[in-house]
Symmetry: D2
Subunit: 303 residues, 4 copies
Amino acid sequence: MPLTPEQQAEIEEQRAHPQPTLRAVAPGMEKHLYTAHQVLDHGLVRVIDYMGDDNAITQAARVSYGRGTKSVSNDEGLIRYLMRHWHSTPFEMCEVKFHVKLPVFVARQWIRHRTANVNEYSARYSILDREFYIPAPEQLAAQSTVNNQGRGAVLEGAEAARVLDLLREDAMRSYDNYEQMLSQDGQQGLARELARMNLPANIYTQWYWKVDLHNLFHFLRLRADAHAQFEIRAFAEVMCAITRDWVPYAYAAFEDYRLGGTQLSGKGVAILKRRLAGETVTAENSGLSKGEWREFAAIWGEN
Amino acid sequence: MPLTPEQQAEIEEQRAHPQPTLRAVAPGMEKHLYTAHQVLDHGLVRVIDYMGDDNAITQAARVSYGRGTKSVSNDEGLIRYLMRHWHSTPFEMCEVKFHVKLPVFVARQWIRHRTANVNEYSARYSILDREFYIPAPEQLAAQSTVNNQGRGAVLEGAEAARVLDLLREDAMRSYDNYEQMLSQDGQQGLARELARMNLPANIYTQWYWKVDLHNLFHFLRLRADAHAQFEIRAFAEVMCAITRDWVPYAYAAFEDYRLGGTQLSGKGVAILKRRLAGETVTAENSGLSKGEWREFAAIWGEN
Amino acid sequence: MPLTPEQQAEIEEQRAHPQPTLRAVAPGMEKHLYTAHQVLDHGLVRVIDYMGDDNAITQAARVSYGRGTKSVSNDEGLIRYLMRHWHSTPFEMCEVKFHVKLPVFVARQWIRHRTANVNEYSARYSILDREFYIPAPEQLAAQSTVNNQGRGAVLEGAEAARVLDLLREDAMRSYDNYEQMLSQDGQQGLARELARMNLPANIYTQWYWKVDLHNLFHFLRLRADAHAQFEIRAFAEVMCAITRDWVPYAYAAFEDYRLGGTQLSGKGVAILKRRLAGETVTAENSGLSKGEWREFAAIWGEN
Amino acid sequence: MPLTPEQQAEIEEQRAHPQPTLRAVAPGMEKHLYTAHQVLDHGLVRVIDYMGDDNAITQAARVSYGRGTKSVSNDEGLIRYLMRHWHSTPFEMCEVKFHVKLPVFVARQWIRHRTANVNEYSARYSILDREFYIPAPEQLAAQSTVNNQGRGAVLEGAEAARVLDLLREDAMRSYDNYEQMLSQDGQQGLARELARMNLPANIYTQWYWKVDLHNLFHFLRLRADAHAQFEIRAFAEVMCAITRDWVPYAYAAFEDYRLGGTQLSGKGVAILKRRLAGETVTAENSGLSKGEWREFAAIWGEN
């Protein structure tokens, strides 16, 4: 769904008037400000404000470590060092505020990340719009047969059509009835805080979400992961691209050490050392459980 | 809705085997352990575990204030002193874990309290039960005409009947369709993480919720308040009663200083002083805005 | 102590190059950026960065309350409403980052406010400077005889001189010995992480401290209060003045509802109502404890 | 330093009276309750209270994952699965409260872990005891020549003796002067909140520290690590032993996946895969920086 002309006009107005500031400015982030990145069918992510840049991270680290940081001479190296050694506080010195429009079932996963600030549209005060997430056909997947919380093959033919019809019809009917219960035309009209209970979890809500860079990375590591539900991952991936433009060194370190890295258990280290020494380690002699071996072998191969 | 025989049996089993412990024991809380307090039509609150009692609060305060606390000779007086002066850390030394079954729209308000630990039933992994909150007739209220987020008069006659019918029918239909989409009978069956999006916000979910006493009081102050939505207040009131049994001194102090107290602005203090000095202060000469005067007068009268 | 020429030059350099930004700009805060406000004898507070302004608060509130906020037509009224009703999340949408130089015993109080981000100078990595807080003569006070944690009369004559001598001599001697233990001149030199244990709590440390406006107000309410220790209050008062320039509406509301207001217990409300009805309420018939009556009477008079 | 007879008597009294409870009881933890574990020269760790056991973790997980967790049939396997996949909330369902006596410079590191509840002895209210940490001779180490924040060789002979003399003399003198400033014998006596500033960072303080198991593990991973300063590691190691007795399955999983494991970057994974394929990877062709290679080679060898 395209933005309304009013929304588009508001964004253009906001983008038209740069003002001078003495604060740190991240050029890569300025270009994102207020611009709506569309996500899913009616969702969006917009950067409303930000604080700091790559340099704000090293500046804070140099307060902490004083002369000790002189030995790492450049910002990029220092940022990689901080990320590698889990020094989280310098990354907390950057902050970002997003405007996000998202389905309620995605919002319910998202809000579990507690170290952030949120102002959500309140359906006690106001009436929600008739906007529902309906999956694209290629996202309409069967329950995974191997993963209790995952998706398997894409649904096909009549079943897919039936599901889409059901989702659309139930959304429209529940919204019609929501409006009818609220209506004050010839009746009192049900309180908004009650009427909203009739709306399904694919209705869109929106919020302002503000978070520091350390906690944003934590969110992105979990939600841009291949095991995250597709619908929240769609948001996380847009936010990854924005973050790369905002703090390129920090994002590159995050990509190498977190997104692209892996955690080995003590047992896993021992197995790799045996293999490096020429030994053949199999599921049987690995000492790992079946599930653990499957995950290990997915990265390191069967032997 | 009554508990199932299985649930009832599990509770009785848990309650049948006291074990010795050296920890502080709160007799008033032991009697609540595992017992299901019913809330709304299908909801419940159960105490799963707790840490500490009134004495744990003063014990921690005496670590902090050392000899300085000797002057307040008894526990009750010290607890009132701590509450009055916003010394929050001693109250954080008590902890409680609840099992709560609640409608999703209540859960969405509740989760905004971030300083707690939560494990919620996951509809990605598992299938939700066919249980929906349908308001009792006396709770079916119109939108308030004075308060954007409140309820007004109770709906009557045909309108009330119509609303209840709509809520019930939409709940049943959406659940039927949820089941149909999930079904693997002659079809692949939609992934659970997708099918759940069809369920309305009055479906019941459940979680374990663990919180310290300071943050529990903060939650109760906001959610047992007359302005809180009835449905969350119903839970808060049950939890108030439990907390009173658990830490009677702390609860009494909370009741006096928080639930039963009020916050005055600098302007409000000045008005009361003028009145105590015999002056007649009205909306016009109060210096308060209209809304502020209305709230002030609700407690202190019109002049 | 004046800033060094190097520090002064760095500040001037930072202040000389405004850059264009599309973000919200708070003119009252721009003028504070990087400028060192001196506090106590060697301490300082500098604004390093900020996010948002008064408008960012109402913008977030309007996302939350949607059409419901239209009735409060102006920003100032809405901000007062939010503050009065403890709606904290819109205030969390503003963020500020300070550079603070402060004595260690003040830092130890300050750090108890957990909802902030901190990067402190590390004496494991680096060597602390020879800078100690020595109270001004008018701050050299005796232990209060009525308040376990307060100050009484100012010390005079020989006693005051003796205290200042002791503080200065012990500071200098401990620092001399710190340097001697660290020295690698003709010896190995003790590890910095060990040598620092010899330094007293009036040595200065420094940190970057980043916090949202809601939590800043909470900090300021407790630390700009007359009961706070003078040394931390000195910092809080400078930060109050800065915050007033940053978000004038929010600060004015904070001043009226928090700093200038008071909390009444249920018992306190009842007493005031009796007085307003013409009754004479004394300590004896108030139902309050002695301590509580003393605090009540300090605001409302003896009868 | 041994406990005083009064402290010993209080502990014995507390341990003498088990009471019945319906809550989960962890036998391995009951034996630790109240018992003082000595740490360093005058420090201690005591368990004051706890909530939950291994079973509380899986119980919470089963609420979350419902039928989905049935496939992992036993508690130990489920706990390992949760730890491996960074499912932190079930571990938050256990809580522990410690009484800790520790030097101030250790307390300053410790308090940086913000997700815990703390009540510290207040030197504004009360007078600190004459107890200082003086390192054992084998802990008196030189500054590391390779690590900005570490220790090198143990000091020897005259230098070691000189350091110990300085630490002891400065501690005693500063405490003498602290007492003299406080004294009301023939003078007013300086306020406690001021006099404390003369005390060095090796004086002992004490606090109650309460934390959930997830955050405790995070603390232990950082502070029981070989790179942590010895003095805080001494506390962490005692707490590791206590935690092993409290929640043996969870602790074993923590030991394998966190303490004994390692994090590989994307580059690190690629290097190991090249080696497994028979290639010789050296510092030069690794693509790692010098510092990163040194850390990598410390685990995986030079080629």
